[in-house]
Amino acid sequence: MSVLEDIKQAVINGNPPKVKEFTEKALAGGLNPNDVINEGLIGGMSIIGVKFKNNEVYVPEVLIAARAMHAGMGVIKPLLAGGDIQSKGTFVIGTVKGDLHDIGKNLVIMMLEGAGFKVIDLGIDVPTEKFVQAIKEHKPQIVGLSALLTTTMTQMKSTVEELKPYRNSIKVMIGGAPVTERFAEEIGADAYAPDAATAVEIATELLAS
């Protein structure tokens, strides 16, 4: 088995010491750090993502795999110029104003990072101005809004409206328990994701479009 395959497997198994060991070995062997990330670490996480979507693995197992992946990232980061990992794209995310829920949003972040996105997490109770500020500062390709309450879906709608001037450069994705595909269409969001694993698939499609 190649060392990249070893890394991948250790991520899937959720074993941080092994991931660290194989990552070090891969780098010592002269492999390109970005290849180690993309084919090894992210490769493992994407398999976990698919299994999660199919109900073959569960939230705690995804958390363990993410922890293992970070053990490998920790080895590679100091080696990269400026500490920058080549990312697939930048994703700004937050739970809209008036809504304090973060569990769903955090799962989405974990899956996005696992898929190689650079994620800027604005946290909970995020007013539109803060999204705008983050768009200017981080130049994301995608902005994700989360809402867990039917009342804050109204806020989601107005945030999407206020983001209009920036829509040339960004796509807007929404999600959260009460949110539906139809609601996304109604308020003019680009996409809706019903769960964290699908969010990654859709974000990847949006990048390509």
């Binding site: 939230v59 705690p60 909970i124 039917t150 009342t151 328990a177």
Partner: protein, 265 residues
């Protein structure tokens, strides 16, 4: 031990569809089944899919046609809440108020007007509660505030907020410890929760829900928003109620077993 039947909730796909198509027979049947299975209150949520106020009114009307028990009007929106409560024949339950400034201010007049039983989530502005102390701090605002609004202690249902165990293995015990502390601090109020949150992201969810329910009952929880059609769960609830000494001479348990309602397996 109070059972609020949770099934008529528009965030469930089948219900959203039934609401949209005005499928009265289906929804009424679901209300009846829940009552026959032991639900003492029927939750009605019409929040998903827009037109919440109209949908809520219609839902309250048709569910009341089908069953005698009180309804639990479920919405974070003050207008839909008022619309639902205004149509309830008898004292309803309000699901739910919080100590968040805006939600409190919007819903308080509705609480004062209809004097329903009130589910109060132990959360305020800023962030979701994490510790027992966070929850006690919110309860310190909620309980006196509701009493001042004319709600007697026995009509207050504090919800400690249950977070998913799959995300953090301390979340279930955090809720149990909070329940114990709330029970000690406010012996006169009820403590309620939505059971299924605890098992989010994990397999065989009902198994965890059942175990958590028993633990919560022993910590002082006495009301559940749950699926009353889950017969093993209802059996376990009756057994746990007897075990915490709230079923005199275990008669409810005995008669339920005789009637074939409660079974070991």
């Amino acid at each position: 031990m109070l059972v609020v039947g949770e099934l008529i909730n528009s965030t469930r796909k089948a219900i959203a569809q039934a609401l949209e198509q005005r499928d009265k027979a289906y929804l009424q049947d679901l209300a009846r089944c829940q009552v026959e299975s032991g639900a003492q209150i029927i939750d009605v949520n019409a929040a998903a899919g827009g037109n919440e106020v109209d949908n809520m009114k219609w839902l309250v009307e048709i569910v009341q046609e089908a069953v005698e028990v009180p309804l639990c009007v479920d919405s974070p929106n003050a207008l839909a809440m008022e619309a639902g409560l205004s149509m309830c024949r008898e004292k309803a339950m309000l699901n739910s108020i919080t100590a968040e400034n805006r939600r409190w201010n919007e819903l308080l007049p509705v609480v004062q007007k209809y004097r329903p039983r009130v589910i109060a989530l132990c959360m305020g502005d800023g962030a979701m509660p994490e510790t027992t102390l966070d929850r006690l701090r919110e309860a310190e605002k909620l309980v006196p505030g509701l009493v001042a609004a004319g709600i007697p202690l026995e009509d207050i249902y504090l919800d400690p907020l249950i977070k998913p165990l799959g995300v953090n293995t301390q979340f279930a015990m955090e809720a149990i410890e909070s329940t114990r502390a709330l029970r000690q601090e406010y012996p006169g109020v009820h403590i309620i929760c939505g059971l299924s949150n605890v098992s989010y992201g994990l397999p065989e969810r009902r198994l965890l829900n059942r175990a958590f329910m028993v633990m919560a009952i022993s910590a002082g929880m006495d009301a559940f928003i749950m699926d009353p059609l889950d017969q093993p769960m209802m059996s376990l609830l009756a057994a746990a109620k007897a075990l915490v000494g709230q079923d005199e001479y275990c008669l409810e348990y005995i008669s339920g077993v005789r009637a074939g309602k409660f079974k070991a397996g």
